[in-house]
Point group: C2
Chain length 303, copies 2
DNA sequence: ATGCTTTACGTCTAGCGTAATGATT
DNA sequence: AATCATTACGCTAGACGTAAAGCAT
């Protein structure tokens, strides 16, 4: 029995698909299928119940896969302990994050880390889709909003309300709305999340909740929305977390400051494999530090 | 990296020899040498410092070997958990014990266990030599006397003084010695331990210690000594543990009952590998139960 | 001189990709 | 129709044994 085969089992179980596991491991589906069959024969029990569309671990399969996870993790730890003498990090990290987070927050963090560790390669996947996590072998992802419980493990980085923002120039030109109803008269910049345009904003204030329907001339990802807002194109709804820099510097102003959306969590998401390589732990630490700093500024500004 | 290779590393470290490890694994020394070299290359560190006579783990080697031990043990546990559904034990156990222990104590225990589990095969190595533990791949051994600290792990089964015994017939015929000095006039049955004849008995009593020099007409292993004593051939020095049956039944009598040797421990000895297969655990349990029972009888008789 | 590790070499099998097949949505 | 798992087949590389060489005790 090989450790690679154990890793393979774990990935098949995680992705629920031999093809995806194959893609992660740079193998063909045929090889993965054969490997699963091979292991099942040597172990002597059926590990996955499978149709051509789904792959489900069996009762015993779960036990075996858990064992595989721990075994692989234990081995990786010893390897790291033994050759980790050279304190420099090496290898490739695949990280996925929403566009705005990538360009605004991650970019400097990653640049710094990359400079400290020249042998490190960071591949950035700018995406909102969680399922991409398994499609490519993503090591770490950052996601806004509630976490669907799945085979992923997540740690909360921050929790922050959404706020309406616009540039001072735009507000000078178009006026400051004093209540949500007036938003209909403004250029509102909306998001397209997972290819689906967002058509309403759910605002709340001390006075109560209010859902505002929108038709928006500008619709894009979160990064575009912020850039457009900065360029005076209109009013955007962004997580406070994303615009704290702009608010602090005065490049953006809050609109209807009595209103926010309900707080939304930001998570660091990892594949459920037990062991994170040192390079991923380092990136995680750097990102977490950055988020904590930023979160503190949000709370200071907001509170 | 294969689990078999990890097991191989563990065995090389345990035995301190590639050839012995090869013998345990049914491989050639060439294959073991190649495997070690292979692993060293994939891990990237030298695991063993070796001359042609010795194989010593390096600093990193120790870490890696420990990792291998745990990994292999973890995997064996999952395997056992998964296919252990069939509660019957199967496979082969190699057990090593002194002759008398084998014939008198182990024989019925093993017979019983073998009957309960028809697929079980027990290979008994009647031997006193600890180093045999690594020569053959012994799963469990029973040893009298102090444990040299080594790569073996041991658990104490009992601790018992040695006593002088002879058959009533012999004592009727030759008379009962009343003090150690009189032993010189008797036929004393001695042991040959590790091919070295024992020429003195170190006795002690409330009055003090006394070392008696011997020249003995009969010299053999512990089983022979007991049989000769039973046959009225003379006086033997045996662990109380070995002769409790004979003393209880009156087939043997204690000689110089005020005198014993200092208590000697009896250990169950295992190779230091982390995980004992269920079959070995079962045998261990059965033997331990037998020893506990016997030890209780010793204490009752002695106290 | 014995017994160990190492190297060289020939052999064989395990494990991969390619490509075709079968099944499911 | 598209996508996934499976099977068949040819190929390559890894792992073993044999045999010989090199060292240490």
């Amino acid at each position: 029995m090989k450790l690679d085969e154990m890793d393979l089992l774990v990935r098949v179980a995680e992705t629920g698909s031999m093809t995806l596991a194959a893609r992660q491991l740079n193998l063909t589906p045929a090889a993965v299928s054969a490997a699963v069959k091979r292991v099942e024969e040597t172990v002597g029990v059926r590990l996955f119940e499978r149709t051509t569309r789904t792959v489900h671990p069996t009762e015993e399969g779960l036990r075996v896969i858990e064992g595989c996870q721990e075994v692989v993790a234990r081995w990786q730890r010893t390897l790291e302990a033994v050759r980790g003498a050279s304190q420099s990090l090496a290898g490739t990290i695949h990280i996925s994050a929403p566009a705005d987070t990538t360009y605004q927050i991650l970019e400097p963090v990653i640049a710094r880390l990359s400079q400290q560790h020249p042998e490190l390669q960071v591949v950035v996947h700018s995406s909102d889709a969680l399922h991409q996590l398994h499609r490519e072998a993503i090591d770490m992802a950052i996601r806004y909003g509630p976490m669907p419980d799945s085979t992923l493990s997540a740690r909360r980085l921050a929790i922050c309300p959404g706020v309406l923002v616009a540039s001072p120039a735009y507000l000078e030109r178009s006026g400051r709305p004093s209540q949500p109803g007036e938003l209909a008269k403004h250029r509102c910049i909306t998001l397209r999340l997972a290819s689906v345009p967002v058509t309403t904003w759910a605002l709340q204030s001390a006075a109560g909740a209010r859902t505002v329907p929108l038709q928006s001339p500008l619709c894009g990802d979160g990064y575009l929305a912020r850039r457009w807002a900065l360029a005076g194109q209109g009013i955007a709804l962004k997580s406070l977390f994303d615009v704290i820099d702009d608010l602090e510097s005065g490049r953006l102003e809050r609109v209807l400051p009595a209103y926010t959306t309900s707080p939304m969590a930001i998570h660091a998401v990892f594949p459920s494999r037990r062991f994170l390589p040192a390079r991923v732990r380092a990136l995680d630490a750097a990102i977490t530090a950055e988020f904590n700093d930023r979160l503190a500024r949000c709370e200071r500004w907001y509170g």
